[in-house]
Symmetry: C2
Subunit: 361 residues, 2 copies
């Protein structure tokens, strides 16, 4: 049998596109019916269901046979769901700006492009915008190790009733960059945040073993310094290169290719279990010897896996500490409830910030 | 018959998603076969075909019955095509940075999100990156009336062999913004680019009739000024508000809701006709009386509609002028060829910068 011609293949694609379009609109119709049922049963219906979206995306990834890879097709379904949801309700999502930052990328990755994003200048503002109802959800960085913003986010939770209802991981790349003044053969030092220098250690050992590494407060700060120095380079991301008009000499020099930064979604609702969930907890303890041990023991006893622990002094008094704890599981799980009950007995304060689907994309 | 329950509707959606997924992967397979045929017939095959994509998107919009609107479903197909193309070739698209600008938005709107975007600091750099082959395509603003960058783009064409192979229109919104020092009840002047002030005239007449309007060189410049003034406001876009940390008091105050800015796609290939095309032309004329008349007459004679004419002094000599002309039609059309032949007789130089599909999205 002869191979199909270009013309024939394009006709096949056209036919297939027509079917696809029919199904997409059919899906939108069904989504409208779902909304109708929700409105009929609950006047104050919530249209966006993070746990349901996570389940759909997991199913899509699990049954995928290619040739589109699982990540790509899940991304397409994210956009399809985003478009269907927008028929019922155009979500407003506030994020820590400015436009074009990783946080905006995270917002669009999580919600798809059929939402309205609102760029705000500070993490506090994002919390306020969501708390007041001006935005449905907010997106803030929570583990941006190189820029140190994590503290603002955690502090904001101490004073806010908002819940965590999702998480997003973004892959972050580091580049070696120069300014226009830099003399390539005379580089004697490299600036970056300590964490970034550590993440690029192998590359630096191999490629620039004799150059001094100088840790500064942020990668953006490192990039800014190059302006006035002719014998220095910096390691930072694309945005810093743009901002300070630097030339990228080597891209993606981080040692671990899956260097990610974590963001959380804040909102008003508690999210029901999706089957694969995480939770975040805030615990305030009296500052006595062994406080950390007492916080962590209930998790071990109940067989609950921790994914992260941060501790910091409480703002509300010199003699107490606050722990931020991420763990596997959902507030509705029995073993999680056992942990919470045990912590209530030990701690001054226990607040579950939220249970939410583990990041799918 | 009873209305379906939420559970039943979700089962229907799940079944439909499975079909959708099958079709999406089938489409990707067909796209791979198209690529195979192209490689078999031409070693140096071009996988991205702007005219074909424009045709597919037009068809999708034309046959759409809803409930998803034509714009939304075309956007989904843009992403589907983008993902299928990425299986063969991940396009590299250079744009005028920094990240988060309208130009990046235009690039993603045109190419979908499955491309690699490269942010560059100047329009010249975008031309160079594409000319050298480091990027497949470039995206530059050509009619950003408020920021005045158009000249750089047009000048770059005078010295570059690259072709225009597409156009993108983006809707632009203007907002009234204040700094933290501004005393709301004491505003005596409003800064903005002259063009923007004109675009918001009705709103200003109605809402701030007594406030002085001061035209400055760009909207960004207007936003920057607020830093040191307590009795002024500015009109500018979201990006400027972010950049200078301003508070938006009123959104979308432009009089015409469809205020758009135009971008062009530059590349190496000439694009075959898509059925609805535009062309851009560069004509250099001796500076004699009636030059403009002689340039425009051939269009009128051949019944070719002009969409834009710009003239500026040529760099290569004091006594000649350069005209940039956009018109409806394709280089392969007979009446367009008649125009070109007539212009050849009148002008010092005639260069067709490209024929390309009219913007679909």
């Amino acid at each position: 049998m002869a191979e199909p011609t270009l013309e024939q293949l394009r006709e096949q694609i056209d036919g297939l596109d027509e079917q696809l379009q029919g199904l997409l609109n059919k899906r939108a119709e069904l989504a409208q019916k779902v909304a109708d049922v929700k409105i009929a049963t609950d006047g104050d219906a919530v249209f966006y269901r993070p746990e349901r979206e996570a389940q759909v995306l997991r199913q899509v990834k699990a049954r995928n046979t290619g040739p589109l890879d699982a990540e790509t097709i899940a991304r397409l379904f994210r956009e399809i769901m985003s478009a269907c949801l927008a028929l019922e309700q155009r979500l407003k999502v506030a994020f820590l700006g400015p436009e074009g930052t990783f946080t905006q990328q995270a917002a669009l990755k999580h919600f798809g492009h059929a939402v309205e994003t609102i760029s705000l200048a500070a993490i506090d503002d994002v919390f306020r915008e969501v708390a007041s109802g001006a935005a449905h959800y907010g997106v803030v960085p929570v583990e941006n190790s190189t820029e140190g913003v994590i503290n603002h986010t955690l502090d904001s939770f101490m004073e806010s009733p908002l819940k965590i209802c999702g998480e997003v991981d973004l892959r972050i790349h580091h580049h070696l960059m120069l300014s226009e003044h830099t003399q390539l053969d005379k580089i004697t030092r490299i600036y970056s945040h300590q964490q970034t220098l550590a993440q690029c250690r192998k590359w630096l050992d191999t490629n620039m073993p004799r150059v001094e590494r100088i840790a500064v407060s942020s990668n953006a700060q490192a990039a800014r310094r190059l302006k006035d120095e002719w014998n220095a380079a910096a390691i930072a991301g694309d945005i810093a290169a743009d901002l300070y008009d630097l030339k990228i000499l080597h891209r993606n020099i981080e040692d671990t290719p899956d260097n990610t930064t974590r963001f959380i979604i804040i909102g008003h609702e508690e999210v029901p279990p999706s089957g694969e969930d995480k939770s975040s907890l805030l615990v305030r303890m009296k500052n006595r010897p062994g406080a950390l041990y007492h916080v962590l023991k209930p998790f071990k006893d109940a067989g609950v896996d921790l994914t992260r622990v941060e501790s910091r002094p409480s703002r509300s008094g010199n003699w107490s500490y606050v722990f931020f704890i991420d763990f596997e599981g959902h507030r509705d799980d029995e073993n999680v409830q056992a942990v919470l009950a045990a912590l209530e007995r030990e701690a001054l304060d226990v607040r579950l910030l939220g249970s939410y689907p583990r990041a799918v994309l």
